[in-house]
């Protein structure tokens, strides 16, 4: 048993000695780290999308702890997540309306005039050649630069047209910068009805190149009544996102070019376009 005893004593003493050393070192070289950063980081979704304006979730967490950012800046967090973080940090969370991306064009391959483009399959490169070779100077090129930029897979390219899935979109705005035609806007998630056209040209010129362009016939304006749901902007109608219309407006207005659509139904592929 003496060997066992020697082992126990020597190892025990060694352990104790090392423990003391660790303690001393920990005390001498202590680094002040705000543990809240770690805590906040754990509460964040970890998407690293950059939608908050920081270089990633950890950076954002640092920003929040340093009070240079607020939890509601995270586009991915649900309101519950935001509240959790706010509670953790002991601040009051602001309610922020969730935003989703809207691609303001529904000129897909069937409904638009386009010439034969041959080159890099990327919108930002394609726009350098004959401005993208689409009949409409303002329309979606459909090469999916926005879909590439989306970290959440919320944009789908269907028939050479970018379609946003509002349920997957978290509003990080990465796609907005990616679109060379500046087609994508961030609209409140509560607004489901959008005018899917961004061409300021005259109606006739638009019709020549695209069957689904908004020709500013104002049927929707009339159908929406007196309440300013729809705004007239030159040869284009826009949704008033301050006061968005109800989903029924699409049915009621019977848009002749189907440029007025519901985002949710658009994502589900419910619209066929105009067949004349």
């Amino acid at each position: 048993m003496s060997i066992a005893l020697i082992a126990i004593i020597s190892v025990g003493v060694l352990g104790g000695f090392l423990g003391v050393i660790i303690g001393i070192v920990a005390k001498v070289f202590a680094v002040e780290v705000d543990e809240r950063i770690e805590g906040v980081n754990d509460l964040l979704p970890g998407a690293n999308c950059g939608g908050c304006g920081f270089a990633g979730c950890t950076d954002f967490a640092k920003g929040m702890v340093a009070e240079s950012a607020t939890p509601d800046q995270c586009p991915v967090c649900s309101s519950e997540d935001v509240k959790n973080i706010a509670d953790y940090l002991g601040i009051v969370a602001e309610e922020k309306e969730k935003k989703v991306a809207v691609v303001r064009c529904v000129g897909d391959a069937k409904n638009t005039v386009r010439s034969l483009y041959n080159g890099v399959r990327d919108c930002r490169s394609a726009v350098l050649v004959a401005s993208g070779a689409k009949g409409c100077d303002y329309g979606c090129l459909g090469f999916g630069s926005c879909a590439d930029a989306c970290p959440f897979g919320a944009i789908e390219i269907r028939d050479a047209l970018a379609v946003v899935h509002p349920d997957l979109c978290v509003g990080c705005e990465n796609c907005v910068a990616a679109c060379p035609k500046d087609l994508i806007i961030m609209a409140p998630a509560s607004a489901d009805v959008h005018v899917y056209c961004n061409s300021p040209e005259k109606g006739a010129a638009k019709r020549k190149v695209c069957k689904t362009a908004c020709i500013a016939c104002r049927k929707c304006v009339k159908a929406s009544g007196e309440e300013d749901h729809m705004l007239v902007d030159g040869f284009l109608i826009r949704t008033n996102y301050e006061n968005p219309p109800a989903a029924e407006l699409v049915e009621a207005s019977a848009c002749p070019t189907t440029a007025l659509r519901q985002a949710s139904k658009q994502a589900a592929g419910a619209y066929e376009g105009v067949s004349e």
Partner: protein, 223 residues
């Protein structure tokens, strides 16, 4: 998380070898045959469960500053116990094959990783399940790797020749490059399966432990 989930996560979703890429040293070194893989897997599983139990027991009284040394001591103790027990009671051939790798379980990051990431935060029951699941997942991965390599090398499995006419061994598979190649193919297959599943469910697949800047697997899911 339910108890079943604690158990099953280690088998596939968070498989320590095929998903988390932990414990590469034993994975690559001992999987030249299915038998070796099984032995190493079971030995690691024993250590993992033992350390998980003890760490989980003492988790509330361990001072934070010395938790890592404490875990190391516990793990090292268990490894030595396993080593001695194997030397005494396991078949000689198995001990000969695994002998030099058993002490290496001490620095197998799966064991320390589970102690730090799971057992130190959860109760004993859950920790046992976690250790068992992770250990089984590890064993499964090692046996699969070892079996594949053994079969590709000589057409045998658990040292039983399945294809009698196979006379010339393909030594690339039993050597270290073969280990890397087969592991790589396993990982690719694993990702392919997960991506296909994610596509079917229209979600994006994000491998554990990878951040969005380092790979584009999610993009692949969506196209």
């Amino acid at each position: 998380m339910s108890a079943t989930k604690e158990f099953t996560k280690g088998l596939w979703k968070d498989n320590s070898v095929l998903v988390l890429l932990l414990g590469m040293c034993p994975t690559l070194a001992v999987t030249s045959s299915a038998t070796n893989g099984l032995g190493m897997g079971v030995a690691t599983m024993c250590v993992l469960m033992g350390s998980n139990i003890v760490v989980s027991f003492i988790r509330s009284i361990v001072p934070k500053k010395i938790r890592i040394p404490v875990y190391i001591v516990i793990i090292a103790t268990f490894v030595t116990i396993v080593d001695l027990l194997m030397q005494a009671y396991a078949p000689t051939a198995l001990y000969d094959a695994l002998g030099i790798f058993i002490p290496l379980i001490v620095v197998n990051c799966i064991v320390l990783g589970r102690a730090e990431a799971f057992a130190s935060k959860n109760g004993v029951g859950k920790s046992i399940l976690d250790g068992l699941g992770m250990g089984l997942g590890f064993t499964f991965a090692l046996v699969a790797l070892g079996g594949t390599r053994e079969f590709l090398a000589s057409g045998s499995l658990f040292e039983v020749k399945l294809i009698p006419g196979w006379t010339t061994d393909f030594m690339l598979m039993t050597s270290a490059p073969g280990a890397f190649i087969i592991l790589g193919l396993f990982l690719a297959g694993m990702n392919a399966l997960n991506i296909r599943k994610a596509k079917r469910e229209r979600t994006s697949y994000k491998p554990a432990g990878l951040d969005c800047n380092s790979c584009n697997i999610c993009d692949m899911t969506e196209k």
